[in-house]
């Protein structure tokens, strides 16, 4: 059996002196999809950037394919995992195609220019998120949802084996939310990529992920298969609000009481 794409050992995360995650042991294998759920300020984004190796954990180890993250340089990390952050304004900006091509950066040598092959990959990624035909638009003319889809296309261009997505559905309307989730589901299924995503909708997490990690914000975490862990009972405790569960054709839905 191959090594897990991502593994944490006794990982702890601290925000401004407050311990939000305590001794987390997590393994993510090829083709697996994991949702991270929790209240605002529970440390979801901070945990995700820690898992991406962008922030040092307070305690514990982080391994990519069995290699300690502290021994990998930033470029080697970028070849293994991609990270989708929350929206950042760009003071200068460039065109849609140029932005998508930035995903090729870790694959290129210092003096290399993007090749035809790289451009084809970027065009393919733009097509996959429904931005075909907008290659030469300046990114400042895009809407919030289009910017978000462009960020996702950049990740696809980077083509790693592990995707860490912080609120991938933000700014997206319903059809694009479903398209993006289907896209990552097929990336996991067909390419064996591992996906970890911070989500706000437990129903979508249940439908599109294999397991869920719940962050209670006080250091406690709980992880398990979505069928077992995403129930009205645990989610009511997680969000501090009573929820009722409805099942329809295998899909779960949670309605606030």
């Amino acid at each position: 059996m191959s090594l897990p794409l991502l593994e944490t050992q006794q990982l702890a995360v601290t925000i401004a002196g407050r311990r939000v995650v305590e001794s987390l042991n997590l393994q993510l294998c090829k083709g697996e999809r994991l949702a991270i759920l929790g209240c605002n300020g529970a440390g979801k984004s901070t945990l995700l950037s820690t898992l991406a190796g962008l922030r040092s954990p307070a305690v514990g180890r982080l391994l990519f394919n069995g290699d300690d993250a502290t021994l990998l340089d930033t470029r080697q990390l970028a070849l293994r995992r991609a990270w989708l952050g929350q929206f950042q304004p760009d003071p200068f900006g460039s065109t849609v195609l140029e932005t998508a091509l930035t995903g090729r950066h870790p694959h290129l040598g210092r003096w290399n220019w993007e090749s035809k092959h790289d451009t084809e990959l970027a065009r393919g990624a733009l097509k996959a998120v429904g931005l075909a035909g907008m290659e030469s638009r300046h990114i400042h003319t895009l809407s919030g949802g289009e910017r978000q889809r462009l960020a996702i296309a950049t990740l696809l261009t980077q083509a790693p084996s592990l995707y860490l997505l912080d609120e991938p559905l933000s700014h997206l309307d319903l059809n694009h939310q479903m398209a993006v989730l289907e896209l990552f589901a097929s990336t996991a299924r067909d390419c064996g990529a591992g996906i970890i995503m911070v989500l706000h909708d437990p129903a979508l997490a249940h439908r599109f992920c294999d397991r869920a990690l719940l962050l209670y914000g006080d250091g406690r975490t709980e992880i398990g298969a979505v069928d077992r862990i995403l129930t009205a009972e645990t989610l009511s405790e997680l969000y501090g609000y009573r929820l009722r569960q409805i099942e329809d054709r295998g899909y779960r839905c949670f309605i606030p009481e």
Binding site: L77, L79, F92, T95, H105, P106, E114
Partner: protein, 325 residues
Amino acid sequence: MPTRPRVILILASLALLSLVSIGLALTVGSLSIPLADVWSALLGQEVAGGDVIIELRLPRTLAGFACGGLLALAGALMQVLLRNPLADPYVLGISGGAGVGALLGMWLGFSAFGVDGLAFVGALAAMLLVFGLAHGDGSWTQTRLLLTGVIVASACGALIALLLALAPEDRLRGMLFWIMGDLSQANRIWPPLLALGLALSLAMPFARELNLLACGLMQAQALGVAVNRLRYVIFLLASLSTAAAVTTAGSIGFIGLVVPHLVRFLTGNDQRLLLPASVLAGGSLLVLADTLARILIAPQQLPVGVLTALIGVPVFLFLLARQPK
């Protein structure tokens, strides 16, 4: 990403512009010399006015070109480093430090060499002060760097005002010309030219990483850029380029702020093209402005810093208005 033919076309046109501006600077002036004679003089033949070309105009023109290139390069680097379109080479107090040093040297009656030396020491002192203070606890955020730089710059501004207030009448004019930026004293050409060559060749290997830095620090790091190392390198390169330019010609304004924007209109924001194009455009603009400064009210000369803005602003506004919305 600009295509290869486009890169070559843009850089070749700007190189041509540089040659034209240098040629113009060598031919016109209080003594008008035909281009053919200029060419002969450059090749070492005896012609009328040959001394004027070799001894006066050539050093001044080349020093001016180097300063313009250095300032435009430093401006482009600072704008990416601080992720702020309003950043220029002077925003972090480097020119302020150089100004305090230079004016102190003039006040004390130092020779031109001493003044330049003190200016360079002042620029380095300001750079180290800003770096030390901003780095402080190791966080080194953009906001902290920018704030520290602005504060150090305003402290230097106050010191400069103090020196001007206390300066003896007969030295005041020289001091004011230094502050506005003036090439008439620029006769050492090799330091700025070498600095320009070195700075550009050290910045170019990082050009693609700079493109990513503009998307945000975390984003750049996630895409494989060693962000902290990159920022140290860029801060040092931009500061030393600025120091080399202001030591040669005083604090010439406008070039460092606006040339990168002008070039961005033309080329887009790919730093691999923007950096060398800014160097060529900045050098040409400064040489043209200095030529005007020499001839407008000849035989008297204006400080070139006054003219850079007077030429650059209309060009900038014209291009801004033509930008597709």
